[in-house]
Amino acid sequence: MSAFVSLDNVSHAYGGEVGGTLAIEGLSLAIDEGEFVAVVGPSGCGKSTLMKLATGLQFPFKGEVQVAGEKVTKPVKIAGMAFQAPTLLPWRTTLENLLLPLEIVQPHRREIRWRRGEYAARAKNLLTSVGLRDQGDKYPWELSGGMQQRTSLCRALIHEPQLLMLDEPFGALDAFTREELWCVIRDLHAARKITVILVTHDLREAVFLADRVFVMSSRPGRIVAERRIDLPRPRDLEVTFTQGFQDIVHELRSHIVKARQ
């Protein structure tokens, strides 16, 4: 089976090929369908560039990016994205915020005018599944930081994307809320068999959630290590306190330390 997302010997620079800043260089990566992959690395190593390349927001000057068997030449549309900042629209209620992607992406865009009730019901179900039942009519600024981030996740999932891209989505949350949301993501991934790429610099988060963890070098970014996480699923938060878990985190940490030098 060929990979669902693959980057083949990809290089990308900002500010032109010649004289620009090389963000990633000769990076190769293959992700299977339904796999949960985490990418970790020192800050400024081009993790976010990786996200932009895989979603078709930017294109490499060398190498090839493929998603779902096709070369990426325009925004892929089958991806949902969530970032560290929830970036919800303050003039829309939580529910209306969820409907935003459906107003953009086809075929929903055509149909939402006639089937708004149906779509709203779907959005409500999704909110319920992340523990935000009955919060749909509130405005984002009436929600806590964790609730806003849940909403942002829902917005990334509402159009049932095959690929979910998460760029440090829990970076701004407190430790308890973060662990709560790990479980939300874990369950969503288990329920939907969706392919997830998580960019993070929290190693515990990467190990707890991912099937495979990739370690990137500092700029220009390359993959310097790959670690399969064999911890059995479904994983409970308790697993993060076991020796096996700690050993993997420790091992990854040593890669990062090397990558920073």
Partner: protein, 257 residues
Amino acid sequence: MTRTALIIKLSPWLFTIALLVVWEASCRIFKIPTFFLPPPTAIAQAFVDYSGPLTRNSWITLETTLIGFALAVGFGMLLGLLVGWSRTIYAGLYPLMIGFNAIPKVALVPILVLWFGIGFVPAVLTAFLISFFPIVVNVATGLATIEPELEDVLKALGASKLDIMRKVGIPRTLPYFFGSLKVAITLAFVGSVISESVASNNGIGNLMLQAQAQFQVPLIFAGLVVLAIEGIAMYAAMAILERRMTGWAQRSGFAQT
């Protein structure tokens, strides 16, 4: 309502009355001649004596201002969207706009008179020219500050630039836009009154100029009062509009306390 809250609520009126009392008293005690500084009672008398011309001219000034302001809103919104839409247009137009805004608008009145003759048209155009700039700047600022992450989320779904503008850019700009209206309406009054005083036979500006020529100082002050009332009324109207249209942007208690 507590005592303090009541006092705060009444304080604008108390302060105004106090000002008028001090003013009246000073005029009487120091025997200031009416042609130098008329007391409030003399100004009130002027309102009674000249109620006809004052009413007629205040309507003319208000109409002139509002037409100029409406032009500024339409044009300013369009230009702001254009400038916010493209970096090239922004780079090209911004220095020009700064240069234009630096020109004192009163210096344009003679040219407008040359083109359109004295009267209504130059006054409307002066009001327009002086008030569109803050609208342009604010609309463009609203567009320029869209979060890049949100843009990425939507672009990855295949959103066009127009989609992003409609769903995010324009709604996001509205608080800036309505905020700028409060500044713009005040400036529009400045523009119309300047032009009326320099080149018109109508309007409060012209009335004040004539009153000055005839040494009717209380009438000059009555003209000022009319302008203040119209200015406050329009400012309040814009503030109410702002609150109604963009209540979501004013949730902070910061400005209220």
